[in-house]
Protein backbone atom coordinates (compact mmCIF):
# COMPACT_ATOMS: atom_id res chain seq x y z
CA UNK A 1 0.00 0.00 0.00
CA UNK A 2 2.57 2.54 1.11
CA UNK A 3 5.26 1.09 -1.08
CA UNK A 4 4.02 2.92 -4.17
CA UNK A 5 5.26 6.28 -2.87
CA UNK A 6 8.09 7.48 -5.01
CA UNK A 7 8.27 11.21 -4.53
CA UNK A 8 11.29 12.25 -2.50
CA UNK A 9 13.12 8.96 -2.88
CA UNK A 10 16.82 8.66 -3.51
CA UNK A 11 18.07 6.61 -6.46
CA UNK A 12 21.73 5.76 -6.14
CA UNK A 13 23.72 6.14 -9.35
CA UNK A 14 26.97 7.43 -10.78
CA UNK A 15 25.96 10.14 -13.20
CA UNK A 16 27.84 13.47 -13.11
CA UNK A 17 24.87 14.92 -11.24
CA UNK A 18 25.05 12.21 -8.59
CA UNK A 19 28.72 12.98 -8.07
CA UNK A 20 28.24 16.69 -7.40
CA UNK A 21 28.73 18.06 -3.93
CA UNK A 22 25.37 18.51 -2.16
CA UNK A 23 26.26 22.14 -1.49
CA UNK A 24 26.59 22.98 -5.17
CA UNK A 25 23.38 21.13 -5.95
CA UNK A 26 21.49 22.95 -3.22
CA UNK A 27 22.80 26.35 -4.32
CA UNK A 28 22.05 25.42 -7.92
CA UNK A 29 18.45 24.41 -7.29
CA UNK A 30 17.79 27.30 -4.97
CA UNK A 31 19.14 29.82 -7.47
CA UNK A 32 17.34 28.06 -10.31
CA UNK A 33 14.01 28.51 -8.52
CA UNK A 34 14.66 32.26 -8.51
CA UNK A 35 15.94 32.38 -12.08
CA UNK A 36 12.82 30.65 -13.37
CA UNK A 37 10.88 33.80 -12.66
CA UNK A 38 13.05 35.76 -15.10
CA UNK A 39 11.49 33.97 -18.05
CA UNK A 40 8.60 35.89 -19.58
CA UNK A 41 8.50 35.16 -23.31
CA UNK A 42 8.67 32.26 -25.73
CA UNK A 43 12.45 32.33 -26.15
CA UNK A 44 13.21 32.37 -22.43
CA UNK A 45 10.69 29.65 -21.61
CA UNK A 46 12.09 27.51 -24.41
CA UNK A 47 15.54 28.04 -22.97
CA UNK A 48 14.38 27.01 -19.49
CA UNK A 49 12.77 23.88 -20.85
CA UNK A 50 15.78 22.92 -22.94
CA UNK A 51 18.13 23.52 -20.02
CA UNK A 52 16.02 21.34 -17.71
CA UNK A 53 15.84 18.52 -20.22
CA UNK A 54 19.60 18.72 -20.63
CA UNK A 55 20.04 18.27 -16.87
CA UNK A 56 17.58 15.35 -16.95
CA UNK A 57 19.71 13.72 -19.64
CA UNK A 58 22.94 14.25 -17.77
CA UNK A 59 21.46 12.89 -14.53
CA UNK A 60 20.38 9.69 -16.34
CA UNK A 61 17.16 9.51 -14.37
CA UNK A 62 14.36 7.64 -16.03
CA UNK A 63 11.51 9.93 -17.01
CA UNK A 64 9.20 7.64 -15.07
CA UNK A 65 10.40 9.06 -11.76
CA UNK A 66 10.09 12.66 -12.84
CA UNK A 67 6.60 12.18 -14.20
CA UNK A 68 5.69 10.52 -10.95
CA UNK A 69 6.99 13.49 -9.01
CA UNK A 70 4.64 15.61 -11.07
CA UNK A 71 1.56 13.74 -9.92
CA UNK A 72 1.02 15.58 -6.63
CA UNK A 73 1.02 18.97 -8.36
CA UNK A 74 -0.88 17.88 -11.44
CA UNK A 75 -4.15 19.25 -10.12
CA UNK A 76 -2.59 22.61 -9.29
CA UNK A 77 -1.01 22.71 -12.72
CA UNK A 78 -4.26 22.01 -14.52
CA UNK A 79 -6.07 24.52 -12.35
CA UNK A 80 -3.69 27.42 -13.04
CA UNK A 81 -3.58 26.48 -16.71
CA UNK A 82 -7.35 26.75 -16.98
CA UNK A 83 -7.42 29.88 -14.88
CA UNK A 84 -5.09 31.60 -17.32
CA UNK A 85 -7.03 30.40 -20.32
CA UNK A 86 -10.36 31.63 -19.04
CA UNK A 87 -9.31 34.79 -17.26
CA UNK A 88 -6.95 36.39 -19.77
CA UNK A 89 -8.68 39.02 -21.86
CA UNK A 90 -5.84 40.08 -24.15
CA UNK A 91 -4.76 39.23 -27.67
CA UNK A 92 -6.75 37.75 -30.48
CA UNK A 93 -9.87 35.66 -29.73
CA UNK A 94 -9.40 32.10 -30.99
CA UNK A 95 -12.59 30.61 -29.69
CA UNK A 96 -15.88 32.32 -29.04
CA UNK A 97 -19.16 31.15 -27.61
CA UNK A 98 -22.04 32.54 -25.58
CA UNK A 99 -20.31 31.91 -22.25
CA UNK A 100 -16.62 32.38 -22.82
CA UNK A 101 -14.10 33.78 -25.17
CA UNK A 102 -10.62 32.32 -25.26
CA UNK A 103 -7.75 34.50 -26.38
CA UNK A 104 -4.44 33.36 -27.82
CA UNK A 105 -2.64 35.27 -25.08
CA UNK A 106 -4.46 33.15 -22.51
CA UNK A 107 -3.28 29.93 -24.11
CA UNK A 108 0.25 31.28 -24.27
CA UNK A 109 0.26 32.19 -20.59
CA UNK A 110 -1.33 28.87 -19.67
CA UNK A 111 1.47 27.02 -21.40
CA UNK A 112 4.12 29.25 -19.84
CA UNK A 113 2.84 28.64 -16.33
CA UNK A 114 2.72 24.90 -16.97
CA UNK A 115 6.33 24.95 -18.13
CA UNK A 116 7.25 26.85 -15.00
CA UNK A 117 5.68 24.12 -12.83
CA UNK A 118 7.31 21.41 -14.87
CA UNK A 119 10.84 22.73 -14.65
CA UNK A 120 10.52 23.49 -10.94
CA UNK A 121 9.24 20.02 -10.12
CA UNK A 122 11.80 18.33 -12.37
CA UNK A 123 14.72 20.25 -10.90
CA UNK A 124 13.75 19.69 -7.27
CA UNK A 125 13.01 16.02 -8.02
CA UNK A 126 16.43 15.64 -9.60
CA UNK A 127 17.96 17.07 -6.45
CA UNK A 128 16.24 14.57 -4.17
CA UNK A 129 16.59 11.66 -6.58
CA UNK A 130 20.34 12.07 -7.02
CA UNK A 131 21.34 13.13 -3.50
CA UNK A 132 20.99 10.93 -0.46
CA UNK A 133 18.94 12.53 2.33
CA UNK A 134 22.00 12.42 4.56
CA UNK A 135 24.12 14.43 2.16
CA UNK A 136 21.32 16.94 1.64
CA UNK A 137 21.22 17.47 5.37
CA UNK A 138 25.00 17.77 5.54
CA UNK A 139 24.91 20.29 2.73
CA UNK A 140 22.19 22.35 4.38
CA UNK A 141 24.05 22.32 7.68
CA UNK A 142 27.23 23.66 6.11
CA UNK A 143 25.43 26.24 4.01
CA UNK A 144 23.47 27.53 6.97
CA UNK A 145 26.51 27.63 9.24
CA UNK A 146 26.85 31.43 9.04
CA UNK A 147 23.46 31.70 10.75
CA UNK A 148 25.06 30.34 13.93
CA UNK A 149 26.33 33.87 14.47
CA UNK A 150 22.75 34.99 15.08
CA UNK A 151 22.11 32.03 17.41
CA UNK A 152 20.19 29.81 15.00
CA UNK A 153 20.67 26.20 16.24
CA UNK A 154 21.87 25.00 12.84
CA UNK A 155 23.40 21.74 14.01
CA UNK A 156 20.32 20.77 15.99
CA UNK A 157 18.04 21.58 13.08
CA UNK A 158 20.14 19.50 10.71
CA UNK A 159 20.17 16.64 13.18
CA UNK A 160 16.40 16.81 13.54
CA UNK A 161 16.05 16.76 9.81
CA UNK A 162 18.32 13.80 9.27
CA UNK A 163 16.61 11.84 12.03
CA UNK A 164 13.17 12.48 10.56
CA UNK A 165 14.37 11.52 7.11
CA UNK A 166 15.87 8.35 8.51
CA UNK A 167 12.59 7.36 10.15
CA UNK A 168 10.14 8.11 7.35
CA UNK A 169 10.50 4.67 5.70
CA UNK A 170 10.36 2.99 9.10
CA UNK A 171 7.15 4.78 9.96
CA UNK A 172 5.64 3.92 6.60
CA UNK A 173 6.42 0.25 7.11
CA UNK A 174 4.95 0.43 10.54
CA UNK A 175 1.78 2.12 9.29
CA UNK A 176 1.38 -0.63 6.75
CA UNK A 177 1.84 -3.35 9.36
CA UNK A 178 -0.56 -1.86 11.88
CA UNK A 179 -3.12 -1.15 9.19
CA UNK A 180 -3.05 -4.79 8.15
CA UNK A 181 -3.24 -6.00 11.73
CA UNK A 182 -6.34 -3.88 12.37
CA UNK A 183 -7.89 -4.89 9.07
CA UNK A 184 -7.42 -8.50 10.11
CA UNK A 185 -9.43 -7.60 13.21
CA UNK A 186 -12.25 -6.32 11.05
CA UNK A 187 -11.51 -2.61 11.08
CA UNK A 188 -12.23 -1.08 7.70
CA UNK A 189 -10.50 2.06 6.51
CA UNK A 190 -11.44 1.91 2.88
CA UNK A 191 -15.20 1.53 2.76
CA UNK A 192 -18.33 2.40 4.67
CA UNK A 193 -19.71 5.77 5.76
CA UNK A 194 -17.27 8.61 6.48
CA UNK A 195 -18.07 8.56 10.19
CA UNK A 196 -16.95 4.93 10.50
CA UNK A 197 -13.86 5.55 8.48
CA UNK A 198 -12.77 8.40 10.70
CA UNK A 199 -13.34 6.17 13.69
CA UNK A 200 -11.18 3.51 12.07
CA UNK A 201 -8.22 5.91 12.07
CA UNK A 202 -7.90 5.79 15.86
CA UNK A 203 -6.77 2.13 15.99
CA UNK A 204 -4.13 3.08 13.44
CA UNK A 205 -2.87 6.32 14.95
CA UNK A 206 -2.62 5.30 18.60
CA UNK A 207 -0.18 2.40 18.05
CA UNK A 208 1.74 4.52 15.57
CA UNK A 209 2.25 7.32 18.08
CA UNK A 210 3.09 4.92 20.86
CA UNK A 211 5.81 3.31 18.79
CA UNK A 212 7.12 6.62 17.45
CA UNK A 213 7.53 7.96 21.00
CA UNK A 214 9.14 4.75 22.11
CA UNK A 215 11.56 4.88 19.20
CA UNK A 216 12.42 8.50 19.97
CA UNK A 217 13.12 7.62 23.57
CA UNK A 218 15.29 4.65 22.63
CA UNK A 219 17.21 6.73 20.12
CA UNK A 220 17.81 9.50 22.64
CA UNK A 221 19.13 6.97 25.15
CA UNK A 222 21.31 5.28 22.56
CA UNK A 223 22.80 8.63 21.53
CA UNK A 224 23.43 9.65 25.11
CA UNK A 225 25.18 6.43 26.11
CA UNK A 226 27.45 6.84 23.13
CA UNK A 227 28.46 10.25 24.37
CA UNK A 228 26.53 12.59 22.12
CA UNK A 229 26.51 16.09 23.56
CA UNK A 230 25.56 18.46 20.78
CA UNK A 231 27.44 19.90 17.85
CA UNK A 232 30.16 21.72 19.81
CA UNK A 233 33.56 20.58 18.57
CA UNK A 234 32.11 17.63 16.70
CA UNK A 235 34.12 16.40 13.73
CA UNK A 236 32.62 14.88 10.61
CA UNK A 237 32.79 11.39 9.29
CA UNK A 238 31.49 12.31 5.84
CA UNK A 239 33.59 15.09 4.35
CA UNK A 240 32.12 17.31 1.66
CA UNK A 241 34.40 17.96 -1.25
CA UNK A 242 34.00 20.80 -3.74
CA UNK A 243 35.71 20.15 -7.09
CA UNK A 244 35.74 21.26 -10.70
CA UNK A 245 32.34 19.81 -11.51
CA UNK A 246 30.71 21.85 -8.79
CA UNK A 247 32.29 25.06 -9.97
CA UNK A 248 31.20 24.18 -13.50
CA UNK A 249 27.60 23.67 -12.37
CA UNK A 250 27.49 27.07 -10.74
CA UNK A 251 29.09 28.73 -13.80
CA UNK A 252 26.49 27.02 -16.00
CA UNK A 253 23.72 28.36 -13.83
CA UNK A 254 25.10 31.90 -13.92
CA UNK A 255 25.35 31.61 -17.69
CA UNK A 256 21.74 30.57 -18.09
CA UNK A 257 20.72 33.33 -15.70
CA UNK A 258 22.54 35.91 -17.81
CA UNK A 259 20.99 34.55 -21.01
CA UNK A 260 17.52 34.69 -19.53
CA UNK A 261 18.09 38.21 -18.35
CA UNK A 262 19.33 39.20 -21.78
CA UNK A 263 16.49 37.66 -23.77
CA UNK A 264 13.56 38.46 -21.52
CA UNK A 265 11.25 41.14 -22.78
Amino acid sequence: MMEKMIFGRFLPGDSPVHKLDPRSKLIFVFAFIIIVFLANNTVTYAMLLAFTLLIVLVSRIRLYFLINGLKPVLFLMAFTFLLHIFMTKEGVPVFESKFITIYDEGIRRGIFISIRFLVLVFMTSILTLTTSPISITDGIEVLLNPLKAIKVPVHELALMMSISLRFIPTLMDETDKIMKAQMARGSDLSSGPIKDRIKAVVPLLVPLFVSAFKRAEDLATAMEVRGYRGGEGRTRYRRLKWDMGDTFAIVLLVAIGVLLFFYRS
Binding site: I6, A181, R185, G186, S187, D188, P207
Partner: protein, 290 residues
Amino acid sequence: MDIKLQQVSYAYAQGTPFEKRALFDVDFDIPSHTYQAIIGHTGSGKSTILQHFNALLRPTSGEVHIGDRLIVAGKKAKDLKAVRQKVGIVFQFPEHQLFEETVLKDIMFGPMNFGISEEEAEARARELVSLVGLPDNVLDKSPFDLSGGQMRRVAIAGVLAMDPEVIVLDEPTAGLDPRGQKEIMDMFYQLHQERHLTTILVTHSMEDAARYADNIVIMHEGKNVLNGSPRVIFKDVATLKEFRLEPPRIVRFQQKIEHMMGHSLSKVCLTEEELATEIAQALREERAES
Protein backbone atom coordinates in the same frame (compact mmCIF):
# COMPACT_ATOMS: atom_id res chain seq x y z
CA MET B 1 -12.41 -24.52 6.12
CA ASP B 2 -9.87 -25.62 3.53
CA ILE B 3 -7.30 -23.22 2.20
CA LYS B 4 -5.78 -23.83 -1.19
CA LEU B 5 -3.00 -21.91 -2.89
CA GLN B 6 -2.67 -22.48 -6.62
CA GLN B 7 0.35 -21.09 -8.44
CA VAL B 8 0.37 -18.05 -6.20
CA SER B 9 2.95 -15.40 -7.03
CA TYR B 10 3.27 -12.08 -5.32
CA ALA B 11 5.38 -9.00 -5.98
CA TYR B 12 5.58 -6.02 -3.64
CA ALA B 13 5.34 -2.57 -5.26
CA GLN B 14 4.29 -4.16 -8.50
CA GLY B 15 4.58 -1.97 -11.55
CA THR B 16 7.15 0.35 -10.05
CA PRO B 17 10.93 0.14 -10.43
CA PHE B 18 11.06 -0.94 -6.77
CA GLU B 19 9.18 -4.11 -7.58
CA LYS B 20 10.25 -6.98 -5.35
CA ARG B 21 9.01 -10.47 -6.08
CA ALA B 22 8.46 -12.36 -2.88
CA LEU B 23 6.50 -15.47 -3.94
CA PHE B 24 6.94 -17.68 -6.99
CA ASP B 25 4.19 -20.15 -7.92
CA VAL B 26 3.47 -21.27 -4.41
CA ASP B 27 1.21 -24.26 -4.46
CA PHE B 28 -0.16 -26.19 -1.49
CA ASP B 29 -3.33 -27.11 0.36
CA ILE B 30 -4.23 -26.88 3.99
CA PRO B 31 -7.20 -29.15 4.69
CA SER B 32 -9.62 -28.28 7.50
CA HIS B 33 -8.55 -29.12 11.04
CA THR B 34 -4.89 -29.60 10.12
CA TYR B 35 -2.11 -28.20 12.24
CA GLN B 36 0.13 -26.84 9.49
CA ALA B 37 3.62 -25.52 10.14
CA ILE B 38 5.40 -23.28 7.66
CA ILE B 39 9.14 -23.04 8.16
CA GLY B 40 11.90 -21.41 6.19
CA HIS B 41 14.92 -19.21 6.43
CA THR B 42 14.43 -15.52 7.13
CA GLY B 43 13.11 -13.67 4.09
CA SER B 44 11.79 -16.81 2.43
CA GLY B 45 8.29 -15.37 2.10
CA LYS B 46 6.46 -16.86 5.06
CA SER B 47 4.82 -13.67 6.28
CA THR B 48 3.90 -12.78 2.71
CA ILE B 49 2.04 -16.06 2.28
CA LEU B 50 0.18 -15.61 5.53
CA GLN B 51 -1.36 -12.39 4.33
CA HIS B 52 -2.94 -14.25 1.47
CA PHE B 53 -4.86 -16.47 3.87
CA ASN B 54 -7.34 -13.70 4.70
CA ALA B 55 -7.00 -11.63 1.55
CA LEU B 56 -4.90 -8.84 3.05
CA LEU B 57 -2.77 -9.35 -0.03
CA ARG B 58 -4.11 -10.35 -3.41
CA PRO B 59 -1.85 -12.59 -5.51
CA THR B 60 -0.27 -10.94 -8.55
CA SER B 61 -0.96 -14.20 -10.32
CA GLY B 62 -2.63 -17.43 -9.27
CA GLU B 63 -5.58 -18.30 -7.06
CA VAL B 64 -6.28 -18.50 -3.37
CA HIS B 65 -9.25 -20.52 -2.17
CA ILE B 66 -10.38 -19.68 1.34
CA GLY B 67 -13.26 -22.01 2.13
CA ASP B 68 -15.73 -21.25 -0.63
CA ARG B 69 -14.29 -17.81 -1.37
CA LEU B 70 -11.98 -17.45 -4.31
CA ILE B 71 -9.39 -14.67 -4.46
CA VAL B 72 -7.79 -14.31 -7.87
CA ALA B 73 -5.20 -12.01 -9.31
CA GLY B 74 -6.46 -8.83 -10.89
CA LYS B 75 -9.97 -8.88 -9.52
CA LYS B 76 -10.81 -6.74 -6.54
CA ALA B 77 -12.62 -8.88 -4.01
CA LYS B 78 -15.52 -7.27 -2.19
CA ASP B 79 -16.94 -7.86 1.23
CA LEU B 80 -13.96 -9.53 2.81
CA LYS B 81 -15.28 -9.16 6.33
CA ALA B 82 -16.67 -12.67 6.44
CA VAL B 83 -13.31 -14.08 5.37
CA ARG B 84 -11.43 -11.96 7.88
CA GLN B 85 -13.70 -13.11 10.68
CA LYS B 86 -13.15 -16.76 9.85
CA VAL B 87 -9.39 -16.48 9.45
CA GLY B 88 -7.74 -14.80 12.42
CA ILE B 89 -4.11 -13.77 12.06
CA VAL B 90 -1.75 -13.21 14.96
CA PHE B 91 0.99 -11.17 13.34
CA GLN B 92 4.66 -11.04 14.27
CA PHE B 93 4.87 -8.89 17.43
CA PRO B 94 1.09 -8.43 17.72
CA GLU B 95 1.50 -6.27 20.82
CA HIS B 96 2.05 -3.33 18.45
CA GLN B 97 -1.60 -3.41 17.45
CA LEU B 98 -3.01 -2.59 20.90
CA PHE B 99 -4.65 0.83 21.10
CA GLU B 100 -7.65 0.92 23.42
CA GLU B 101 -7.89 2.50 26.86
CA THR B 102 -8.38 -0.82 28.59
CA VAL B 103 -7.45 -4.41 27.91
CA LEU B 104 -11.13 -5.35 27.94
CA LYS B 105 -12.01 -2.87 25.20
CA ASP B 106 -9.07 -3.95 23.11
CA ILE B 107 -10.05 -7.60 23.20
CA MET B 108 -13.64 -6.60 22.35
CA PHE B 109 -12.53 -4.55 19.32
CA GLY B 110 -12.32 -7.50 16.90
CA PRO B 111 -15.61 -9.22 17.70
CA MET B 112 -17.52 -5.92 17.76
CA ASN B 113 -16.22 -5.06 14.30
CA PHE B 114 -17.82 -8.26 13.11
CA GLY B 115 -21.17 -7.36 14.59
CA ILE B 116 -21.06 -9.36 17.82
CA SER B 117 -23.11 -7.79 20.61
CA GLU B 118 -21.36 -5.93 23.39
CA GLU B 119 -22.43 -8.43 26.06
CA GLU B 120 -21.23 -11.38 24.03
CA ALA B 121 -17.92 -9.68 23.23
CA GLU B 122 -17.35 -8.86 26.88
CA ALA B 123 -18.15 -12.43 27.89
CA ARG B 124 -15.62 -13.71 25.37
CA ALA B 125 -12.99 -11.26 26.61
CA ARG B 126 -13.45 -12.34 30.23
CA GLU B 127 -13.13 -15.98 29.27
CA LEU B 128 -10.10 -15.41 27.07
CA VAL B 129 -7.91 -13.46 29.51
CA SER B 130 -7.64 -16.44 31.79
CA LEU B 131 -7.17 -18.76 28.83
CA VAL B 132 -4.12 -16.81 27.66
CA GLY B 133 -2.81 -16.90 31.21
CA LEU B 134 -3.52 -13.42 32.53
CA PRO B 135 -5.13 -12.54 35.87
CA ASP B 136 -8.67 -11.12 35.70
CA ASN B 137 -7.64 -7.76 37.11
CA VAL B 138 -5.76 -6.78 33.93
CA LEU B 139 -9.06 -6.26 32.14
CA ASP B 140 -9.48 -2.73 33.44
CA LYS B 141 -5.83 -1.75 33.05
CA SER B 142 -4.40 0.13 30.12
CA PRO B 143 -2.64 -2.28 27.76
CA PHE B 144 0.32 0.09 27.73
CA ASP B 145 0.92 -0.49 31.44
CA LEU B 146 1.57 -4.20 30.88
CA SER B 147 4.85 -5.97 30.27
CA GLY B 148 5.77 -7.00 26.72
CA GLY B 149 4.82 -10.61 27.34
CA GLN B 150 1.49 -9.64 28.88
CA MET B 151 0.75 -7.34 25.95
CA ARG B 152 1.44 -10.23 23.61
CA ARG B 153 -1.13 -12.33 25.44
CA VAL B 154 -3.71 -9.57 25.27
CA ALA B 155 -3.16 -9.23 21.52
CA ILE B 156 -3.55 -12.98 21.08
CA ALA B 157 -6.77 -12.88 23.09
CA GLY B 158 -7.94 -10.06 20.81
CA VAL B 159 -7.62 -12.32 17.78
CA LEU B 160 -9.09 -15.38 19.49
CA ALA B 161 -12.09 -13.29 20.53
CA MET B 162 -13.16 -13.13 16.90
CA ASP B 163 -13.82 -16.86 17.22
CA PRO B 164 -12.09 -17.75 13.95
CA GLU B 165 -12.19 -21.18 12.34
CA VAL B 166 -8.67 -20.84 11.05
CA ILE B 167 -5.98 -19.33 13.20
CA VAL B 168 -2.79 -18.15 11.61
CA LEU B 169 0.22 -17.58 13.87
CA ASP B 170 3.30 -15.69 12.70
CA GLU B 171 6.03 -16.57 15.18
CA PRO B 172 3.70 -16.05 18.11
CA THR B 173 6.29 -16.72 20.77
CA ALA B 174 9.29 -14.83 19.42
CA GLY B 175 10.94 -12.92 22.25
CA LEU B 176 9.03 -14.55 25.10
CA ASP B 177 10.67 -16.37 28.01
CA PRO B 178 10.97 -20.16 27.50
CA ARG B 179 8.23 -20.99 29.95
CA GLY B 180 5.88 -18.42 28.41
CA GLN B 181 6.65 -19.84 24.99
CA LYS B 182 5.65 -23.30 26.03
CA GLU B 183 2.51 -22.05 27.80
CA ILE B 184 1.34 -20.18 24.72
CA MET B 185 2.14 -22.98 22.30
CA ASP B 186 0.36 -25.51 24.52
CA MET B 187 -2.61 -23.19 24.76
CA PHE B 188 -2.85 -22.95 20.98
CA TYR B 189 -2.57 -26.70 20.67
CA GLN B 190 -5.31 -27.25 23.20
CA LEU B 191 -7.56 -24.77 21.39
CA HIS B 192 -6.73 -26.46 18.12
CA GLN B 193 -8.02 -29.75 19.45
CA GLU B 194 -10.95 -28.55 21.53
CA ARG B 195 -12.39 -26.19 18.96
CA HIS B 196 -11.43 -28.22 15.91
CA LEU B 197 -9.54 -25.30 14.46
CA THR B 198 -7.28 -25.22 11.47
CA THR B 199 -3.98 -23.87 12.78
CA ILE B 200 -1.24 -22.46 10.61
CA LEU B 201 2.00 -21.79 12.43
CA VAL B 202 4.96 -19.91 11.02
CA THR B 203 7.96 -20.61 13.19
CA HIS B 204 11.73 -20.67 13.34
CA SER B 205 11.55 -23.29 16.04
CA MET B 206 11.98 -26.75 14.56
CA GLU B 207 11.11 -28.11 17.98
CA ASP B 208 7.65 -26.54 17.86
CA ALA B 209 7.09 -27.69 14.30
CA ALA B 210 8.09 -31.23 15.27
CA ARG B 211 6.00 -31.29 18.43
CA TYR B 212 2.72 -29.82 17.22
CA ALA B 213 2.40 -29.96 13.45
CA ASP B 214 0.58 -32.60 11.41
CA ASN B 215 2.21 -31.33 8.29
CA ILE B 216 5.13 -29.07 7.41
CA VAL B 217 5.75 -26.88 4.39
CA ILE B 218 9.24 -25.58 3.83
CA MET B 219 9.69 -22.26 2.07
CA HIS B 220 12.89 -21.30 0.33
CA GLU B 221 13.41 -18.10 -1.65
CA GLY B 222 9.72 -17.58 -2.27
CA LYS B 223 8.90 -21.15 -3.31
CA ASN B 224 7.47 -24.04 -1.37
CA VAL B 225 10.16 -26.67 -1.73
CA LEU B 226 9.13 -29.46 0.62
CA ASN B 227 5.83 -30.61 1.98
CA GLY B 228 5.22 -33.54 4.26
CA SER B 229 4.75 -34.89 7.76
CA PRO B 230 7.39 -33.94 10.37
CA ARG B 231 8.81 -37.44 10.42
CA VAL B 232 9.41 -37.41 6.69
CA ILE B 233 10.69 -33.84 6.56
CA PHE B 234 13.14 -34.14 9.44
CA LYS B 235 14.56 -37.46 8.30
CA ASP B 236 16.34 -35.93 5.34
CA VAL B 237 18.95 -33.81 7.05
CA ALA B 238 20.95 -33.21 3.88
CA THR B 239 17.99 -31.62 2.07
CA LEU B 240 17.19 -29.48 5.09
CA LYS B 241 20.77 -28.19 5.09
CA GLU B 242 20.32 -27.17 1.49
CA PHE B 243 17.51 -24.86 2.60
CA ARG B 244 19.62 -23.54 5.45
CA LEU B 245 17.57 -25.33 8.10
CA GLU B 246 18.58 -27.68 10.86
CA PRO B 247 16.49 -30.58 12.14
CA PRO B 248 15.19 -30.25 15.71
CA ARG B 249 17.59 -30.90 18.56
CA ILE B 250 15.87 -34.13 19.38
CA VAL B 251 16.38 -35.49 15.86
CA ARG B 252 20.06 -34.55 15.90
CA PHE B 253 20.39 -36.26 19.26
CA GLN B 254 18.75 -39.39 17.89
CA GLN B 255 21.28 -39.43 15.06
CA LYS B 256 24.14 -39.25 17.55
CA ILE B 257 22.71 -42.19 19.46
CA GLU B 258 22.16 -44.18 16.30
CA HIS B 259 25.76 -43.50 15.39
CA MET B 260 26.93 -44.87 18.73
CA MET B 261 24.65 -47.90 18.60
CA GLY B 262 25.66 -48.65 15.05
CA HIS B 263 22.10 -49.06 13.76
CA SER B 264 19.01 -46.87 13.32
CA LEU B 265 15.90 -46.77 15.46
CA SER B 266 12.63 -47.76 13.87
CA LYS B 267 11.36 -44.19 13.35
CA VAL B 268 12.32 -40.53 13.55
CA CYS B 269 11.32 -39.34 17.01
CA LEU B 270 9.83 -35.90 17.43
CA THR B 271 9.69 -35.58 21.19
CA GLU B 272 11.88 -36.60 24.07
CA GLU B 273 9.26 -39.03 25.34
CA GLU B 274 9.12 -40.76 21.98
CA LEU B 275 12.87 -41.07 21.79
CA ALA B 276 13.07 -42.53 25.30
CA THR B 277 10.50 -45.17 24.41
CA GLU B 278 12.29 -46.02 21.19
CA ILE B 279 15.65 -46.42 22.91
CA ALA B 280 14.11 -48.63 25.58
CA GLN B 281 12.57 -50.71 22.83
CA ALA B 282 15.89 -51.00 20.99
CA LEU B 283 17.65 -52.08 24.18
CA ARG B 284 15.06 -54.73 24.82
CA GLU B 285 15.49 -56.09 21.31
CA GLU B 286 19.25 -56.13 21.71
CA ARG B 287 18.97 -58.14 24.90
CA ALA B 288 16.61 -60.62 23.25
CA GLU B 289 19.07 -61.13 20.42
CA SER B 290 22.13 -61.83 22.58
